[in-house]
Amino acid sequence: MLDRRSLLAGAAAVGVASFARAGRAADAPAIVGVSGPITGPMAQYGAQWKASFDLALEQSKAAGGPAVDYVFEDSQADPRQSVAIAQKFVNDDRIFIEIGDFSSTASMAASPIYQRAKLVQFGMTNSHPDFTKGGDYMWSSSISQAEEQPNLADYAVNALGLKKLAVLHLNTDWGTTAKNLFVKAAQDKGADVVATEAFLPGEHDFRSTLVRIRDANPTGLVLEAYYADAAVIARQVRELGLKQPIAAVGSVYSPKLLELGGDAVNGMFTQSNFFPDDPRPEVQAFVKAFQAKYGRAPDGFNATAYDTMNLVIALVKQFSATREGIHEGLAKIKDVPSVVYGSMTFDPTTRRVAGAKFERLTVKDDKFVLWDGTKPNLG
């Protein structure tokens, strides 16, 4: 029990972590705490996570892997709930690693609690550049925009030959970061960014925004958006009569883009670190297994979640299913097979993964295909 004097003296570090912790029974499975949205506006992402976690654990179990299980607490990606969940997790001795939350808002509000409790918070979707700066227990396998955006710029400017660009970006921490990095990289490569337009999450009407873009006379459009927004934007671009090629960040890569975008997304260029037709064996194995279990093709969010659970299993195998084991393990573990990265190794100072693979894709006949090197007709 904590005595009150030391508390008032501001013994900051004596947080919840120091409470007496009962040892875990040897046979009980080690548990991963997941904090993410199951209800609310972002519920679909939580559902995607679950699908991949279940698949990864099923496969591990079939292969005689370690006894690992997860509890998924619904945060609605709301910081008020993610901090409560954090307290719940850090005080649950069975939990040796936490995954999530989905949004940076929810994740970063909970970070101080995980940091003080010395429980790794693995924010697999948290691309906010400050997320891993929350402390040495904040790790992320989210694609670093610092890596992706120069790649995208190279694709758009050098490979596709788009020299006058208009950028549309989601006005969130992610979209703003992506836009800034892209603009810098594109300019370094000699392109001219003639317009940047921010839009709010949930926006559906882009007509007037596109008029601004049209009047800036770009040779190509670049989207820093998720698939649903990208589909709606592409439709309205074509409805407005704009013929310019569209290049988009990897997060638009989803079968849903094709469903929602229809004809309008044909000819869209994007890149992905996950592509189901990628011949790499780990990718093919994942896609086949996912297809068999769920009857649909996985997307990037599925791939990220699948990778993360496999990383956890690998950490448990090589190190231990304890909080300290995971913390040390993340810094040491090398070349974990990954659908997204090929293989994952963390940089212990940034606590992120470098070296994501980017496949250049385009949409042809309502399907994603590898880009064959044909430059778009710039009319």
Binding site: M1, L2, L7, L8, A9, G10, V14, V16, F19, A20, I38, T39, P41, Q44, A47, P79, R80, Q81, V83, A84, Q87, K88, V90, S104, T105, M108, A109, S111, P112, I113, R116, D130, G134, N171, T172, G175, T176, T177, E197, A198, F199, L200, G202, E203, F206, R207, S208, T209, V211, R212, R214, A228, A231, V232, R235, E239, L240, G241, E259, G262
Partner: protein
């Protein structure tokens, strides 16, 4: 060429304005008859979109049949909403039906999400898309159909209201429900008819807009309600033809706003227009000045109730128990209670403003945002110690909050709610767009933890104690104010502001005082929250939190101090307790809310 883009902006504004108009017509119809802003309208619109999607996907219906199914489905839903959700509330307090529609909206959205999954769905356009060149852009057949249905339905409604017997009954009911009933009008049937028509229209809107974007998802309702309400307000509350004009004007304003400043500013323009209209032409642009002073609403604003008088020893005992709780080793419980108590700071503020003074604020979370950003920026940019920054943030929030709400002080009833809703949105959008000051979408990161006299409070218990002390302190202060002449004056304004003013109570002045005091408490709450989370952005204190705070206040009993704290703690704990229900917990929450409004409208502890 000079005119070129502006023609395009105008066309685009009219196209999106069409959609708003369609939403606003249904809202105006319901408001005209039931004197109610139907916050479930957007949910009906979503349900309509999904009925259309299901019928196309599973039944492969052609467009006319699809629309027919949507009309029937949503019409029945409208009848059900009126019959099951609202009729029993007639003659109760004015806000009970408003809250009921919020609850219904929550339940409908959750049902759609549970049944159809939260994934966005494609809703193929069945009309075929022929496009016509106008200016530099094009309009499609669907644009024309949406406009046709909007204007056509408004025209039909107008004729129906003017020239049919049922229409006459609707208008009579709109004028005076009780008088109409005495004249032999079956007002229940009228209400039901109106809900059916409005909901069918809403559903058709949903399916057409879904086709327009080829994209529907269960979260499209809030935005739809918001824009529909704004459009209706511009046209004049309850003015059906005005709603069309309001929708178009809103669309144009947004489009020109985008033309001038870009997409992020669209909603800022929308809500600025709203506030402008509310201040300059509160009855809408298309309505003549209201000619007779409004009817007295004595005693109907809040449910009549005798507050439950809790013995002081019980309250004191509860505080002691709360203070001793950290000695048990329950960090999760403490964190949940801390969240509850932080919400209580907001609820105390809102129960004063909405409960005691009767100004139903739907944008109260903006005060938390102001407090959080004020304290955060003082710490990050000016290096102020947190224990100085937090009270300063309280004062800043009090001042800024009162200033912002100033245009709403002379408004009444629904106008206050809509205005505060708009002001709340404006605050969030300014935070997002004023990148130079607020860091925009990146939010404030690395905020230092709360501190007292140089000692950081990082453990869950110390933060809990701090927040508990603040809640108790502000609650005691508020109780003291309520027992003074201020409490009397505030409650008199709520009960009947005309009578209050006739006895020398300067309503604006006392409302401002309530907002100032409430702003201080909420600002401190927001500041502490920011420092506990270490990270906030413009969405941390969102519009849903404003609605949540209002339900806390209603649950506890309007104006009831202990009730507000109880409501905050219960409603924070409730979703946590429903965790076992995972997917269903928000549904359960919505249902609990509805039952509460139905069976205990005065709240758990009663209105004070």
């Amino acid at each position: 060429m000079m005119l070129g883009p502006w023609l395009d902006y105008t066309v685009n504004g009219l196209i999106i304005g069409n959609i708003y108009a369609l939403l606003a017509v249904g809202l105006a119809l319901i408001f005209g008859v039931a004197n109610l802003i139907n916050f479930a309208h957007g949910s009906v619109y979503t349900v309509g979109a999904y009925i259309g999607w299901a019928s196309i996907t599973f039944l492969h219906t052609p467009l006319p049949i699809t629309l027919l199914l949507v009309i029937v489905g949503c019409g029945l839903l409208g009848i059900a909403i009126e019959r099951v959700g609202l009729r029993a509330l007639h003659g109760r307090s004015r806000i009970a039906p408003l809250l009921a529609t919020i609850g219904i909206s929550l339940v409908l959205d959750q049902l759609v999400q549970l049944i159809c999954s939260p994934d966005p769905r494609a809703l193929p356009n069945q009309l075929g898309d022929r496009r016509f060149q106008i200016g530099g852009g094009t309009i499609g057949t669907l644009d024309i159909l949406i406009a046709g249905i909007g204007i056509g339905s408004a025209a039909l409604l107008y004729l129906f209201l003017r020239f049919t017997k049922l229409g006459w009954a609707v208008r009579a009911t709109a004028q005076d429900q009780d008088a109409a009933r005495q004249m032999g009008v079956d007002t229940d049937r009228v209400n039901m008819t109106v809900f059916a028509i409005a909901s069918a229209l809403g559903g058709v809107g949903g399916v057409l807009v879904g086709m327009y974007y080829n994209d529907i998802d269960p979260n499209m309702s809030f935005d739809a309600t918001l824009k529909g309400v704004v459009a209706m307000m511009i046209g004049g509350l309850g003015n059906v033809p005005g709603a069309i004009g309001g929708g178009l004007l809103l669309g144009l304003t947004e489009s020109y706003g985008i033309a001038l400043f870009g997409s992020s500013y669209r909603n800022l323009f929308a809500f600025a227009l709203l506030i402008l209209i509310l201040v300059a032409a509160p009855n809408g642009l298309f309505q003549r000045r209201r000619e007779t002073p409004p009817e007295p609403l004595t005693g109907t604003f809040v449910a009549r109730s005798r507050p439950v008088r809790l013995p002081p020893w019980l309250v004191a005992g509860a505080v002691v128990v709360a203070a001793l709780l950290p000695l048990t080793n329950q960090p999760y419980l403490l964190q949940t209670l801390t969240n509850g108590l932080l919400s209580a700071l907001l609820a105390l503020s809102l129960t004063l403003v909405a409960g005691t003074v009767g100004q139903i604020s739907l944008g109260h979370a903006a005060l938390l945002a102001i407090g959080g950003y004020a304290s955060g920026l003082l710490a990050l940019d000016l290096g102020w110690p947190v224990d100085l920054g937090v009270p300063a943030a309280g004062l800043i929030t009090a001042a800024l909050g009162t200033l912002l709400v100033y245009p709403a002080l002379r408004m009444r009833g629904h106008y206050v709610s809509i205005a505060t809703l708009g002001i709340g949105q404006i605050v969030a959008l300014v935070i997002l767009n004023w990148t130079g000051l607020t860091r925009g979408a990146m939010g404030l990161t690395g905020l230092p933890p709360p501190e007292i006299g140089g000692f950081d409070l990082t453990s869950v218990r110390s933060v809990y104690w701090l927040v508990l002390a603040l809640v108790v302190g502000i609650a005691l202060l508020q109780a003291r104010l309520l027992s003074s002449h201020l409490g009397r004056a505030w409650r008199a304004i709520r009960e009947d502001d005309v009578a209050a003013r006739s006895y020398g109570v300067d309503a604006n002045r006392y409302k401002a005082m309530a907002f100032a005091f409430g702003g201080f408490g909420a600002g401190v709450g927001g500041a502490i929250t920011a420092h506990v989370y270490s990270y906030i952005d413009y969405q941390t204190f969102s519009a849903t939190l404003s609605i949540l705070a209002l339900t806390m206040v209603i649950l506890g009993g309007l104006g009831n101090i202990v009730g507000a704290i109880l409501g905050a703690v219960v409603l924070t704990a409730l979703p946590e307790m429903f965790r076992f229900a995972a997917d269903y917990r928000m549904l359960a929450y919505g249902l609990v809310l509805l039952l509460l409004i139905r069976y205990r409208p005065q709240g758990l502890l009663g209105t004070v």
